[in-house]
């Protein structure tokens, strides 16, 4: 699929890298056109002019591009609001969201509901609360909009999910009732699935590990073995002494 030209479309920069000597190749996530790559001519460096400087991740933008090819030209952009104040771990969380979108969403595949979830997640990351809920909510929205999320209210035979039952959530088919307790991240209690069905997402502390584990394997399953680089950085930051610990195994 190809891009259609747009004028002042809401979007975010997911990533950008130098292109030639003065231009940037930017990967955008827009509400109407999904993910798309654009060339921003003359946007490299000189952040002080408020042009290249404005073309930063986590900055709500209104973007206009022209051309229908695989790489349209970014004609203009302006800030649609103040940049989200992501700092420290929240900033790494933001990079993680961007990496998920870059790795799992195809270009020119619109996901308006995922765009809203992304904007909401960035807002929550900026609010200095525990990051885990914002990240899990976004992962849930991402898996749902890609059609990869687990069924949360019924098992594979159509029976309602029961809180006391354990389920195996393999990527194919719905949750399958099993004799608990679960062994490994694919197997979670019914209470965890029911908690995930709630909107807005609330995860009781005792279910946190099960939910984290399930999302991790669901996403890893889609990534085809290549680890997430933002997670590696996150873990490097938590390793007590970078030199003398073995690398953590990828789950």
């Amino acid at each position: 699929m190809r891009a259609t030209p747009a004028s002042l479309a809401p979007g975010y920069v997911l990533h950008r890298r130098p292109y030639g000597e003065t231009s940037l190749l930017a990967e955008l996530f827009t509400r109407e056109s999904g993910r798309l790559g654009v060339i921003a001519k003359g946007a490299q460096g000189r952040g002080g002019r408020g042009r290249g400087g404005g073309l930063q991740p986590f900055q709500p933008l209104l973007v206009s591009w022209r051309g229908r090819g695989e790489l349209p030209v970014l004609a203009d952009w302006e800030a649609a609001g103040p940049p989200l104040p992501l700092q420290g771990d929240a900033l790494l969380g933001g990079f993680y969201l961007n990496e998920l979108l870059l790795r799992l969403c195809r270009r020119h595949d619109p996901h308006p509901e995922l765009f809203l979830a992304y904007a909401r997640a960035l807002g929550e990351l900026g609010e200095a609360r525990p990051l885990v809920l914002a990240l899990r909510s976004f992962e849930k929205a991402l898996l749902d909009s890609l059609g990869l999320g687990p069924m949360l209210t019924e098992d594979r035979s159509g029976a309602p999910i029961r809180p006391g039952q354990w389920y195996r959530c393999s990527p194919q088919g719905g949750p399958q009732p099993i004799v608990g307790p679960g062994r490994g991240p694919w197997e979670v209690p019914g209470t965890a699935l029911l908690a995930l069905a709630g909107e807005p997402l609330v995860i009781p502390p005792e279910l946190q590990a099960a939910v984290n584990g399930l999302f991790r394997v669901l996403i890893a399953d889609q990534l085809g073995g290549a680890p997430l680089r933002t997670r590696a950085l996150w873990q490097a930051l938590r390793r007590p002494a970078p030199a003398d610990l073995p690398r953590e195994p990828e789950v």
């Binding site: 997911l14 990533h15 890298r17 000597e21 952040g47 002080g48 408020g50 400087g53 404005g54 930063q56 991740p57 986590f58 900055q59 800030a79 609001g81 103040p82 940049p83 104040p85 992501l86 700092q87 420290g88 771990d89 900033l91 790494l92 933001g94 990079f95 961007n98 990496e99 870059l102 680089r229 933002t230 590696a232 950085l233 490097a236 930051l237 007590p240 002494a241 970078p242 030199a243």
Partner: protein, 212 residues
């Protein structure tokens, strides 16, 4: 078929390596060196070879230098306790030209960019704690105010905290001589959150209404 003899074509192609040099400029440079400045061309060739053969990275700060340590790291007039972390050698030059800083440097040669696969290992940050252990009191994080620069600063601040070394971040705000109207909202909000109290205007006892 090329218009130029192979050595000339190779020279033109080689000159195009330089930033901002396209085929036309490369051609002009090549003809200039060959026709008008053959001595200069030899000097350039020699300087290039020497630079590539002799220069290496300073053990402590990673600036280009001749021996094991660069002139700044060798200097005894520098404050050993202050370590300024920057992204590129050009940043060191900018700070040195401003002439106010008397500490030492650590040059990252880039920034963390997880989405490009540039992590702490690629930047050689495993050596950073060793550098901190050489009597550093304060680390001044002068990475760029981009999202990658901020992530890098956060990472280094964590390493500094673990090593029990104070870390500070350079301020971001309105440029000197600038006007608020033209400052983008992100910079403005940084300028406000990083505001500081105006110092008392000094001892007024020795000035009278007639002083001015």
């Amino acid at each position: 078929m090329s218009l130029f003899a192979p050595p000339l074509a190779r020279l033109i192609e080689a000159l195009r390596l330089l930033p901002g040099v396209g085929p036309k400029s490369a051609q002009r440079m090549a003809f200039h060196l060959l026709e008008k400045d053959r001595d200069g061309a030899l000097v350039l060739a020699g300087a290039l070879r020497d630079a590539l053969e002799i220069l290496r990275h300073c053990r402590d700060c990673r600036m280009y230098c001749e021996g094991e340590l660069c002139l700044i790291c060798q200097s005894s007039h520098r404050d050993e306790g202050l370590l300024c972390v920057v992204e590129t050698p050009a940043d060191v030059v900018a700070i040195e030209n401003a002439g106010f800083y008397r500490g030492k440097y650590f040059i990252l040669m880039g920034h963390l960019s997880p989405l490009d696969g540039i992590g702490p290992e690629e930047l050689g940050l495993d050596r950073f704690p060793e550098r901190l252990a050489q009597g550093v009191r304060e680390v001044i994080l002068a990475t760029n105010p981009t999202v990658e620069g901020e992530a890098t600063a956060h990472f280094l601040a964590t390493l500094a905290e673990r090593a029990g070394v104070r870390a500070s971040r350079i301020a971001h705000g309105v440029p000197m001589g600038g006007e608020l109207t033209y400052v983008d909202s992100g910079t403005l909000s940084h300028a406000f959150s990083g505001r500081h109290r105006v110092a008392h205007s000094g001892d007024v006892s020795d000035s009278t209404t007639e002083t001015l």
